[in-house]
C-alpha cells in the first residue's frame, strides 16, 4: 500500500457475489468517471470482504481520510463518489457502510456487534488485497510461512501442525496433523497432495470466496503441505461451477511459478513441486475424497470403502493427502505464528477460528470468521444482524445437506466440531442457513432429501433406495397425504439409512429428517392431522385468496401481476382468485399494496365460507 500513499486508491469487490450484485458495472462507471475527469487514482479489483449483503462494495482510501467502505453502490452513486469525494471533499457518508479502522469520522467495522464477534485469520486479507497480484500478498507477509517451513525439516513441519491441533475444515474435523503424519510415513516412491475445492454443500460459499479473494494463501498452504509429507505433485480440485475461482487460482499459480515458489528448486532449496488445477464436473459426491480421486482418474465419482484411506493409498494407489481449502489456508498462519498462537484461539478440542457462510433469512448474509466456541445466537443475531424483516426465528440448518436443523433452544450452543454433533447437526463446511417462521421444516427436510437422492451415486442400496423412500414419505407429508404412523416409519427408515450406507453421503443424508422430527414434531403432526402447514409454505396445503373487505376495488395491481391470468375482476369490481388457474407464485400477495394487504394465504387449503369473509 505504501506506493499509493499520495494517490487515492479505490477498490471494488469483484468476487462472484460482487458481480452478481452488479460490481462490474460499478467498476466500469468508476473507471469511466476517473478517465473523463483525468484523475490520478489507482483502481483495483479485490475479492469478497464477507459483507455480501452490502454488495457491490467499494473502498476508498484517500490520503487525509480514514479508509471508507461503501455499499451497496450502483453506477450513479459510484460516479458521485468519484466526483464528490475525489474531486470535492465530501466523503459521501450517506453511502458508507463502515470505516476499515477506528477513527473520528465514521464507525469502523470492528465497532459493530459483528466486528466484536469476528476474529479474522484466513479471511483477514479477503476483500482488501488484489487477488491477482502476488506482491499484494507478499506485502502482508505472504509466503513467509513457506520460507519458515523450508528452514525446518519436513518432520518438524508436520510436528508443528500436529501441535497446533488444527482439524480439517472440510466437514468431519479430522485432525490435520494425524493425516499428514500418516501420509508422510506411508512408504511409497511418490505422494500427492490434493486441495479439495469442490465445495458441494449448497448454502456454503467460503471456499469460493477464499479461492477468489486470496488464492496465494491457499497455494502457500498447499506447498507447505507438499513439503511436509514429501509430495512432488499437487492438484487443486475446484468445482466447475466456480469459473472465477478457477481463473484466479490459475493466475496465482502462474505467478508463483514465475517467482520460483512453485516448480523446481523452490526458494533456492532442493524442493520441487508441480501444481495443477483440475476442474470438477458437477457432482456433489465428488467432494468425498475417494470419489474425488475416482473423478481425477477419469471414472464416475463413486466413493469406495475406507480403509485404506487416501493418506496411505489414494490417487494412482499412492499416498494422497486431501485437505480442504480452509484447512490449507490456515497452514501458512500456523507456520508463521506458531502452533501455540493457533491453540490460543477457539476451544480446547477445536482450536482456531471457523469461517461461516450465513445465508437464508438473516438480515445480513455473508461470510464471517469467528473463534470456535462462538454461539449460534451470536452468529445469527450479532454477526448476521438477526432475522430479515423482523420475522420470527424458526430454525438453523447447519452443515449442509448432511447437517441438521436446530431449533431456538440450540442457539446458545457454542459451535465447535463436537458440540454440534451432540445436537444432531454437524459443523460440516460451515454453511449456516437460517429459516424463519415462513419456512416449513417438513418441506425443508423434503428439499434436502431430494438433493441427496439426486446426488447419491447409487452404489449402495441403503443410500439409493433409502433416500428415495424417505423422499417419497416426506413428499406425501408436504401434500397432507401421510398418516400418523408414517412418522415413526420415517424415523426408523432414517436410522437404517444412516447405519447402512457406505459413505458419508448416505450416512448423513437422514440428519435433516432426524433433527426436524426430534425438534419440530408438532409441525409434522399438523401436516398429518389437520392437513395444515403452519408455516404456510407447503404448496399443496395452502391457497391464496383475496379478502373482499380489504380489497380496494380500484387498484388492479394483483390482476396485472398474475402470470396465469388467475386473478379476475368480479362484476362488483372486487378481485378474486380463480383457484383452478392459480399457480401459487405468490406474486399477487407481494404486489398487493401494504395498506390493503388483501391477499392472504390459507392453510388448510379451504376458502372461508362467503358469509364469514364479510361480503355477500
Amino acid at each position: 500500500m505504501e506506493a499509493f500513499e499520495h494517490i487515492p486508491l479505490i477498490t471494488v469487490g469483484t468476487a462472484t457475489c460482487g458481480r452478481a450484485a452488479g460490481a462490474l458495472a460499478v467498476l466500469q462507471a468508476i473507471r469511466e468517471e476517473i478517465a473523463r475527469r483525468d484523475l490520478l487514482v489507482e483502481v483495483q479489483e479485490v475479492g469478497c470482504l464477507g459483507h455480501c449483503y452490502a454488495e457491490p462494495l467499494v473502498t476508498v482510501r484517500r490520503p487525509g481520510f480514514p479508509a471508507l467502505c461503501y455499499g451497496p453502490l450502483d453506477e450513479d452513486r459510484a460516479r458521485r463518489l468519484v466526483t464528490d469525494f475525489l474531486i470535492g471533499d465530501d466523503p459521501c457518508l450517506e453511502y458508507a457502510l463502515a470505516a476499515l479502522e477506528p477513527n473520528d469520522l465514521f464507525p469502523a467495522l470492528e465497532e459493530f456487534p459483528r466486528g466484536a464477534c469476528e476474529r479474522r485469520v484466513i479471511l483477514a486479507l479477503c476483500g482488501l488485497i488484489n487477488p491477482e497480484d502476488l506482491d499484494a500478498y507478499l506485502v502482508h507477509d505472504g509466503y513467509a510461512g513457506l520460507a519458515r517451513a523450508l528452514e525446518m525439516s519436513p518432520e518438524e513441519v508436520v510436528g508443528e501442525i500436529v501441535r497446533s491441533g488444527l482439524r480439517g475444515r472440510g466437514g468431519a474435523g479430522f485432525p490435520a496433523g494425524e493425516k499428514w503424519e500418516a501420509c508422510a510415513r506411508a512408504p511409497a516412491p511418490a505422494r500427492y497432495v490434493i486441495c479439495n475445492g469442490d465445495e458441494g454443500d449448497p448454502g456454503a460459499f467460503m471456499d469460493r470466496a477464499l479461492m477468489e479473494s486470496n488464492p496465494h494463501q491457499l497455494l502457500e498452504g498447499l506447498i507447505i503441505a507438499a513439503y511436509a509429507v514429501g509430495a512432488r505433485k499437487a492438484i487443486i480440485y475446484v468445482r466447475a461451477e466456480y469459473p472465477l475461482a478457477v481463473a484466479r487460482v490459475e493466475r496465482a499459480l502462474e505467478q508463483a511459478r514465475e517467482r520460483g515458489l512453485v516448480g523446481k528448486g523452490i526458494l533456492g532449496t532442493g524442493f520441487d513441486l508441480e501444481v495443477e488445477v483440475f476442474q470438477g464436473a458437477g457432482a456433489f459426491v465428488c467432494g468425498e475424497e475417494t470419489a474425488l480421486i475416482a473423478s481425477l482418474e477419469g471414472r464416475p465419482g463413486v466413493p469406495r470403502p475406507r480403509p485404506p484411506y487416501p493418506a496411505t493409498s489414494g490417487l494412482e494407489g499412492l499416498p494422497t493427502l486431501v485437505n480442504n481449502v480452509k484447512t490449507l489456508s490456515y497452514v501458512p498462519h500456523i507456520l508463521r505464528r506458531g502452533a501455540e498462537w493457533f491453540r490460543s484461539l477457539g476451544t480446547a478440542n477445536s482450536p482456531g477460528t471457523a469461517v461461516f457462510a450465513l445465508a437464508g433469512k438473516v438480515a445480513n448474509p455473508g461470510l464471517a470468521e469467528v473463534p470456535m466456541g462462538t454461539t449460534l445466537r451470536q452468529l445469527i443475531f450479532e454477526v448476521g444482524g438477526g432475522i430479515r424483516q423482523d420475522k420470527q426465528f424458526k430454525a438453523v440448518q447447519i452443515g449442509g445437506p448432511s447437517g441438521g436443523c436446530l431449533p431456538e433452544s440450540a442457539l446458545d450452543l457454542p459451535i465447535d466440531f463436537d458440540s454440534l454433533s451432540e445436537a444432531g447437526a454437524m459443523m460440516g463446511s460451515g454453511g449456516v442457513v437460517v429459516l424463519d417462521e415462513e419456512d416449513c421444516v417438513v418441506e425443508t427436510a423434503r428439499y434436502f432429501l431430494e438433493f441427496t437422492r439426486q446426488e447419491s451415486c447409487g452404489l449402495c442400496s441403503f443410500c439409493r433406495l433409502g433416500t428415495a423412500h424417505l423422499l417419497e414419505r416426506l413428499t406425501a407429508l408436504t401434500r397432507g397425504e401421510a398418516r400418523l404412523e408414517d412418522l415413526d416409519r420415517l424415523y426408523d427408515l432414517a436410522e437404517d439409512v444412516r447405519a447402512g450406507s457406505l459413505c458419508g453421503l448416505g450416512q448423513t443424508a437422514p440428519n435433516p429428517v432426524l433433527t426436524t422430527l426430534r425438534y419440530f414434531r408438532a409441525e409434522y403432526e399438523a401436516h398429518v392431522k389437520e392437513k395444515r402447514c403452519p408455516a404456510l409454505a407447503c404448496r399443496d396445503l395452502v391457497l391464496y385468496c383475496i379478502l373482499p373487505e380489504r380489497c380496494s376495488k380500484l387498484c388492479n395491481l394483483c390482476v396485472g401481476s398474475c402470470p396465469a391470468g388467475a386473478v379476475i375482476t368480479r362484476p362488483d369490481l372486487l378481485k378474486a382468485i380463480d383457484q383452478a388457474k392459480c399457480v401459487k407464485c405468490n406474486q399477487c400477495l407481494v404486489t398487493c399494496p401494504p395498506e390493503y394487504r388483501a391477499v392472504v394465504k390459507l392453510s388448510p387449503p379451504q376458502l372461508p365460507p362467503e358469509g364469514d369473509a364479510g361480503h355477500g
Binding site: 462472484t16 461451477e241 470438477g280 457432482a283 477419469g298 396465469a564 388457474k581
Partner: protein
C-alpha cells in the same frame, strides 16, 4: 445431410486437435470432455464413440462418465442457457418460484430447450452466491436477488417480446 456431414467433420477435427499426441491417460478424460463441451456446447455421441479408442476404454465407460457428471450435456443446448439455482439458500428464498416463472414464460420444463431453440432452462445446485439468493445464471453471468419482475427483465433483454409473456387470455370474464 449436409448438417450432419459438417458436424462429423468438426467432431473429427476436434478429436484430432485435442488428441494430437495420440493415446491419452484416463486422468485427461474429464478435462477432454470439458474442452469438447466448451467448444460445441455439448458432448456429441460421436465424440464419446471416437474418443473411447483414444483413451483406451470401452465406449460404455465413456458414457458412464459423461452421464454421471451434471456438467455434461449430451444434447445441444439452446442459444441462451438459463440456470436457476436451487441450492438451500435459493430454495428458501423462492428459487423454485423463479424456475417455475421462467418455465411458464418460455413454455418449457426444467432441462428442456424451447421449440425455437433459443432458451434452455436448467437448474443448478448452488453457484456460491447464497447471500444474494435467489440466484440465476444467464449464459455466464450470475444475477443475484432475482424476482419475477427481474426474470421478465432478463427475458426482455434476451429478445423475448413482451406480448409473448402475457398470460393466456382468461376464459372467464
Amino acid at each position: 445431410m449436409r448438417e450432419t456431414g459438417e458436424k462429423e467433420a468438426s467432431v473429427r477435427a476436434i478429436i484430432e486437435e485435442l488428441c494430437v499426441d495420440g493415446r491419452k491417460k484416463p486422468r485427461e478424460l474429464i478435462p477432454f470432455l470439458q474442452k469438447v463441451q466448451a467448444r460445441l456446447g455439448y458432448v456429441p455421441a460421436e465424440v464419446l464413440r471416437e474418443a473411447a479408442g483414444v483413451f483406451g476404454v470401452p465406449e460404455v465407460e465413456m458414457y458412464a462418465v459423461a452421464t454421471f457428471y451434471h456438467q455434461f450435456r449430451l444434447q445441444p443446448p439452446g442459444e441462451h442457457r438459463i440456470k436457476v439455482c436451487l441450492g438451500t439458500a435459493c430454495h428458501l428464498m423462492g428459487g423454485q418460484r423463479i424456475l417455475d416463472w421462467f418455465g411458464r414464460r418460455l413454455d418449457v420444463r426444467e432441462g428442456q430447450t424451447t421449440a425455437d431453440g433459443k432458451f434452455t432452462l436448467e437448474r443448478v445446485a448452488c453457484v456460491g452466491c447464497c447471500a444474494l439468493a435467489p440466484v440465476v445464471v444467464v449464459d455466464e453471468k450470475v444475477e443475484g436477488k432475482v424476482s419475477p419482475t427481474r426474470a421478465d427483465g432478463i427475458l426482455l433483454s434476451l429478445g423475448v417480446k413482451p406480448e409473448a409473456m402475457k398470460p393466456k387470455q382468461p376464459e372467464s370474464a
